[in-house]
Structure formats: structure tokens, C-alpha cells
């Protein structure tokens, strides 16, 4: 019993170190702030050009927020593994005996934190540019949705990012692998955010079951990912 609790503690502490390492790398490089966030805002502006109607924009704003998240996520996941494959950092971590489960959890959580930050910007953009309604109760649904969806996306992104890492043509392969898998998150998060924004006459309370669904996805991919990640990156 004590042996398992010690190894659990070790797992958590290693995962925490990996997460902080990734976040520190991000803070030093500022790629998220200087490149990815502006990119996602540009996507939101382009959506406005493409749809060109205030009523429609307000109606479909939740879907656009999450589409912009998905596209930006591709860039963030590439980035997350670019720092690992450069100079063989991933191999060094493996040789150093870092548990792949801890590696997976740490990188996923770091990715989740970055996506959360990005989504706060995107929701704010929708609020200002698309003129959506946001009541306090709606804001709570949207906040919970953002957190659950982003950590779910963090797990999925890390799992498939690890698979594509180091392979030739990974830039084109990752979207093909990742986007079909995140479709359930897109559906759940869009519906929950729709309720939060009260788009199309939706009630705020309708959002909670969808948030529950996002929680289920996050847990499933968290567990499955920590098992499957080791064999995937093992060369």
C-alpha cells in the first residue's frame, strides 16, 4: 500500500515538474502570446468577414470560438513536441528514466493551461466582436466548459502529438489524426457554450449536461492516454 502511494506521489511530482518545464519554456519564448493568440483572433475576424451578418455571427459565435480553438490547438501541439524532438530532448527524458505516464500527464496539463488561456481570449473576442450575451450564470457555464474542454483537448493533443512527433510530414499528419478525434469535444463544448451565451434562445441550464460529457471525455482520454503514450513514443 505504502509502495503504491509512494510511486503515486513520485508520478505526481514528476508530472508537475514536466508541466512547469513546458510552461516555463512557453513563458520564455512567448510563442503563445506573440503568435498563437494573435493567430486565433485573426481567425475570429476572418469568420466575421466570411459570414458578414451580425445576427448570424451572434448565433454561431460558440461554434466559431471552438473552431478557432481547434485550429490554434494544432499549432500549440506542434510547438509542444517541437521543443521535445529538437536536440533529442524526448530521448534524453526517456533515458533519464522519466515515467512516460508522468511525461504524458505533465505535458497534457501544460497544454491544457495554455489552451485555457487562449480560450479566455477567444471568449472575450466573441463578447466584444460578435456581441454575444453573457450573464453571470452563463459565464460560470462557459468557464467550466472552457476548463473541462481544454484539459480534454490537452490529453488528446498530447497523445496524438506524441505519435506524430519526430515523423516526417508531421505538420500535415497531425490535423488528419487529431481533428476527427476532437469532434466529440467540439460538439459538447459548442452546445455548452451556446447555452452559456444563450444563443438561439438556449437556456443557461441546458449547458450543464454537455459540460458533464466533456468531463467524461477528459477522464477517458486522460486514463487511456497515460497507458498508450509510452508505447507510442517508445522508439
Amino acid at each position: 500500500m505504502s509502495a503504491t502511494s509512494t510511486s503515486m506521489k513520485r508520478l505526481v511530482s514528476v508530472a508537475r515538474i514536466v508541466m512547469l518545464k513546458d510552461l516555463r519554456a512557453e513563458i520564455n519564448s512567448r510563442v503563445l502570446v506573440n503568435q498563437v493568440a494573435p493567430f486565433s483572433v485573426v481567425i475570429m475576424i476572418l469568420f466575421a468577414f466570411a459570414l458578414d451578418n451580425d445576427g448570424i455571427l451572434q448565433r454561431v459565435a460558440p461554434g466559431l470560438v471552438w473552431l478557432a480553438t481547434m485550429f490554434s490547438m494544432l499549432v500549440v501541439v506542434q510547438r509542444s513536441f517541437a521543443v521535445e524532438t529538437a536536440d533529442g530532448a524526448l530521448d534524453s527524458l526517456r533515458v533519464a528514466g522519466v515515467d512516460t505516464r508522468a511525461l504524458f500527464l505533465g505535458k497534457s496539463l501544460a497544454l491544457g493551461v495554455q489552451l485555457c488561456a487562449l480560450d479566455i481570449i477567444l471568449v472575450a473576442t466573441a463578447f466584444f466582436l460578435y456581441n454575444v450575451q453573457l450573464e453571470p450564470s452563463g459565464l460560470l457555464v462557459v468557464f467550466v466548459t472552457v476548463v473541462l474542454a481544454c484539459f480534454g483537448l490537452g490529453f488528446i493533443g498530447t497523445l496524438y502529438g506524441g505519435l506524430a512527433a519526430g515523423a516526417r510530414g508531421r505538420e500535415t499528419l497531425l490535423p488528419l489524426l487529431l481533428l476527427p478525434v476532437v469532434a466529440p469535444v467540439l460538439i459538447g463544448a459548442t452546445r455548452a457554450t451556446e447555452a452559456g451565451f444563450m444563443s438561439g434562445g438556449a437556456e443557461v441550464s441546458e449547458g450543464w449536461p454537455w459540460s458533464g460529457l466533456l468531463l467524461v471525455f477528459a477522464v477517458i482520454f486522460g486514463v487511456v492516454g497515460s497507458v498508450a503514450f509510452g508505447p507510442l513514443i517508445d522508439e
Binding site: L163, L173, L176, L177, P180, P231
Partner: protein, 246 residues
């Protein structure tokens, strides 16, 4: 059997091939001529004899891919033959999903008046198609045979998890928006005895065709691997000789 033309067939596959061919002729006769027209749909109902067996074969193919991938990952003797069967099966599965989507949308055009509806079943099938195209792309990534086998085996098992999740979420996505009334009218056809028999004949024929194709394709993949390995050996040998010359 010369080294330059190693056939992928054996006596057994040839027998299977001829049996499949005979069944195909029988299916064409029954599907196109003997079986009756549908009261509502007329002759267009005959698309069913290709459409339904195709998606059946696709499901069989992807289940087979998952099972042999699990065997590869779990077994102590990690024979690459399992991996090649998984790859062959997935390739043929993708082909049959494509056939099923094409025949389905043609049938939809004739009976519903539209090539595509955002029905849960259609949408999930499209995702199934894309997922296994991704699987085949991962198989083509390169690296050693062992890397390919392990990577694609894990991915095949992930796909088994992912497909029900996508299907479930698409079902509840659709159920909130609209009842899939259109999609149901096409499949609620009352089948008479002969039509049902023809449908089963189609399923049997297509399944035998699938087995025949997998047997050939996995042998083809084995030969391809052997060629790749041989090429590598030759290249190493050449480098060694160059080093000795110096």
C-alpha cells in the same frame, strides 16, 4: 516459382477466388434480375445488395485490424505477420467504406433527393473513413518495421475507443436538432424473402471477397517488407565494401 515473380496465391486462395467469382455471378443474377423490384423504390433498391455488404465488410475489416493489433501488442512472440494482416485489413476496410459511402449517397440521391444528410449514421461513417485514412497514413510514416507495427497497433486500438465516442456524440448531437426521418424511410423497407436471401448472398460473397483480398494483400505486404529489408542489407554491404577499399 522464379525469384522475380513470386505469386501471392496458393491452391487454397485460388479455390477461394473461384468460389467467390461463382458467387459474384450468382449475386449479379439475383441482385439485378431475379429479385423483385421494391414497391416504393423500384429498381433502385438493388443498390442495397452492394451497399449493405460493403459496410458489413468494412466493419469486419476494422474489427479484424483491432483484434490482430491487440494480439501483436499482447503476445510474447511479436510476429510482424500480425501487423501485416492489420495493415492489409485496414486498407481493404477503407476501400469498402468508400464503396459504401458512394453507393449510399447515390441511393440517397434517388430515394431522398439528396446525396447527403447530416444523419448520425452517415456522419459517423464519414468519421470512420477519415480515421482509418489517418491510420494508413501513420503506417506510411517510415521507421523500422517494429516501430510501424507498434505505432499502428496502438492507433488501431485507440480507434476502437474513438469510434463509439464519436458515434455516441454525433447521435446526441443529431437527436437534439432533428429526427432523422429521412434516413429512416430508406432503411425501413419491408424485405420479402427473396430480397432478404439476395442480401445475405451479397454479405457472404463480399465477406469471401474480403478474405481473399486480405490473404493476397498481406502476402504482398510481406514481399514489400522483404524487398525493403533486402535493399537496406545491400546498402549496408556496399558501405562496408567502400570502407574496406579505403
Amino acid at each position: 516459382m522464379s525469384a522475380t515473380s513470386t505469386p501471392t496465391g496458393t491452391r487454397a486462395t485460388r479455390a477461394l477466388g473461384f468460389a467467390t467469382l461463382a458467387l459474384t455471378v450468382w449475386l449479379i443474377a439475383f441482385g439485378l434480375f431475379v429479385s423483385a423490384e421494391d414497391v416504393v423504390q423500384g429498381s433502385t433498391v438493388r443498390i442495397m445488395y452492394v451497399h449493405v455488404p460493403s459496410i458489413w465488410v468494412a466493419y469486419v475489416a476494422f474489427v479484424l485490424t483491432a483484434v490482430v493489433s491487440a494480439v501483436y501488442l499482447s503476445g510474447k512472440n511479436r510476429s510482424l505477420a500480425w501487423d501485416r494482416v492489420a495493415g492489409a485489413s485496414a486498407e481493404i476496410g477503407v476501400l469498402f467504406v468508400a464503396i459504401s459511402l458512394i453507393t449510399g449517397s447515390l441511393w440517397g440521391r434517388l430515394t431522398w433527393g439528396t446525396y447527403w444528410v447530416w444523419d448520425a449514421r452517415l456522419t459517423s461513417t464519414a468519421f470512420l473513413f477519415i480515421t482509418y485514412i489517418g491510420y494508413l497514413a501513420v503506417r506510411g510514416l517510415g521507421g523500422t518495421f517494429r516501430q510501424r507495427a507498434r505505432r499502428s497497433a496502438v492507433l488501431a486500438l485507440l480507434a476502437v475507443l474513438e469510434i463509439p465516442l464519436v458515434h455516441f456524440s454525433v447521435v446526441i448531437w443529431r437527436s437534439l436538432h432533428q429526427e432523422s426521418t429521412v434516413a429512416n424511410s430508406g432503411t425501413d423497407v419491408e424485405l420479402d424473402g427473396l430480397m432478404l436471401f439476395t442480401l445475405f448472398l451479397g454479405i457472404v460473397t463480399f465477406t469471401m471477397l474480403f478474405v481473399w483480398m486480405v490473404l493476397h494483400r498481406q502476402r504482398g505486404l510481406a514481399l514489400q517488407d522483404a524487398v525493403d529489408a533486402h535493399g537496406l542489407d545491400v546498402a549496408i554491404e556496399q558501405r562496408r565494401q567502400e570502407a574496406e577499399v579505403r
